[in-house]
Symmetry: C2
Subunit: 331 residues, 2 copies
């Protein structure tokens, strides 16, 4: 006996371990084949369901599935696509349920951050409303570690390790050179509203005086004078100053220190470049040599590339598209 | 019988392997104790010689010396300090020779880039002129791979690997997301006048269409219109565009695309932030979502931190300062 099929999708910016979560879903489903049939993955996340672009993972070997644990990127493709409120975008939710019905999907695993958890919840509600039984499970994924209820979300651990290691290495470089070269190093950390990533930089310090000397968290309003005084104090004490600054740091007026004026698909303001602003501020006031870095997710993925990326390039060869048009009755 | 002593110093920005070069010097000297006596390391590079701040490496165990191979930073401290022309700064060169004479230094190993090789050459010349026999050996160190005569300098290989790996990972992230999110990713590469590091990013590509799609080398004048046309072309073909841009890219007018107006101790213009400029250019013209990253040396050091950094913190406990004042006859 085989259970109903499952649909799995990856959402949002990928972490170092999102494919490990995929591996967990696939392996667990295989070990419980009496309850769960095939697992279909959505190509490019939830969009794969809306466009009926499904990937049949059952054709993949055990080895290929196990290798997901060490595969960078989002093996099935991800997206930044928000379904929106049911009231205003009911059609999209109905479309989802209809695609699920066409493929006998009884389980919906959505691997993402806060918005994705919310979507899983809404699909669950609508399934009940439309009389389509579906078990919806949100799988936490975020490097920001800002998901409610979870204590430590998959994705945060690897970022914390990366951030602390890089910052310690940068500090060793600075110590090796600060007598005649760079005195201040500012590194920008991801995390729009949550300071976990920036706070993780503190793991680099073991002894009094170790870097980082200053953390700028998004939860604490930036105070220019107080900040510059702290930089001066660190320079006086340690002849160097290492700063970890969150991309989401705001002034007392509630404005981001560095907003580009652009918004992403979720309507979130796109940020970037607070490190150079902070660095310029220090160089302008104190006149010392400052360096800064803005590593992005690409640097924050301490994974090793396999020789041959498995499920190669979003699995184009095993893509399953049961119909190129919408089945009868679908809009 | 023991040979004359050696002086070893590290100079300039540290690479992932500068301590491996130090290990090579120390081990080779130990294996040739009939010809080379003690190896003294300069604290913070050549400054350690000028201030007679020498570190006696002979007290370190074989294990500690071997562990240098995997130790980040510059174990003995580095500096950006240029001795200048002999004609104008003869006093400094004479001071060097006098410190060398006081410690019976017959070998001078200077581990650095182009300026350091030049300094080793000058010390050699002055030694001959002052009748002080000294063998001066420049040990190449640069991530830029721009040292004359050398084909591949220690420091470049690790950077090339890091750059290509990171870029490939970033490209996988982009591919996973580009349908609904970031379309253009620009990463800034170090290398002021030499495009080796940026060119190494090309190692990430295996197949036609693979990232990087555009390389901006400092050797080729930046042409805005041609560049934007290439970005549009990549977006049309691949729905994404990954760009590796050298920090030292210049316009047709010979001006750096991004100069901060500051200069370092060697008188070199301090650069930074060409990636955000390029990114803004694309976002402004094409209106798509762009991301950029400016990793610095801290990210470009694919080393593993030992549990306990050996020769801890620039070896403060084994520092050798034969005299806190200059010996008689020294200025």
């Amino acid at each position: 006996m085989t259970g109903r099929n499952a649909f799995y999708a990856q959402s949002g910016g990928v972490t170092a371990v999102i494919n490990a979560s995929a591996c967990g879903v696939l392996q667990t489903a295989r070990h419980n084949s009496g309850e769960i049939g095939k697992v279909y993955a959505g190509r490019n996340g939830i969009i794969g369901a809306l466009t009926e672009d499904l990937i049949d993972t059952s054709v993949e070997s055990e080895a290929a599935v196990a290798a997901l644990k060490h595969t960078p990127g989002a093996a099935f493709g991800s997206c930044r696509y928000k379904l929106g409120a049911i009231q205003e975008h009911r059609g999209q939710y109905e479309r989802l349920i209809e695609v699920f019905r066409a493929h006998d999907i009884g389980f919906f695993f959505y691997n993402g951050g806060g918005d994705s958890q919310d979507t899983a919840h809404k699909v669950s509600q609508l399934g009940a409303e439309l009389g389509y039984p579906i078990i919806c499970v949100g799988i936490p994924k975020t490097m920001d570690n800002d998901l409610p209820i979870t204590d430590c979300s998959p994705g945060f651990g690897s970022v914390a390790k990366y951030v602390a290691t890089s910052l310690r290495e940068a500090a060793l470089d600075l110590t090796a050179m600060s007598r005649t070269s760079t005195k201040v190093f500012t590194v920008e950390m991801m995390g729009r509203h949550a300071g976990w990533t920036t706070a993780a930089a503190a793991l680099a310090a073991e002894r009094d005086g170790d870097a980082p000397h200053i953390l700028l968290l998004p939860e604490v309003a930036f105070d220019k004078e107080r900040f510059l005084a702290k930089v001066e104090d660190a320079l006086e004490r340690y002849d160097q100053c290492v700063i970890a600054v969150s991309e989401g740091v705001k002034g007392a007026d509630g404005e981001f220190l560095s907003a580009t004026g652009l918004k992403d698909a979720f309507g979130h303001a796109q940020l970037g470049g607070v490190a150079p602003r902070v660095s310029d501020l220090i160089a302008g006031k104190l006149g010392c040599k400052c360096h800064w870095a803005v590593p992005t997710i690409c640097c924050v993925r301490p994974v090793t590339l396999p020789r041959e990326p498995i499920l190669s390039r979003l699995m184009p060869s095993v893509a399953l598209r049961l119909s190129s048009r919408s089945p009868a009755g679908m809009r």
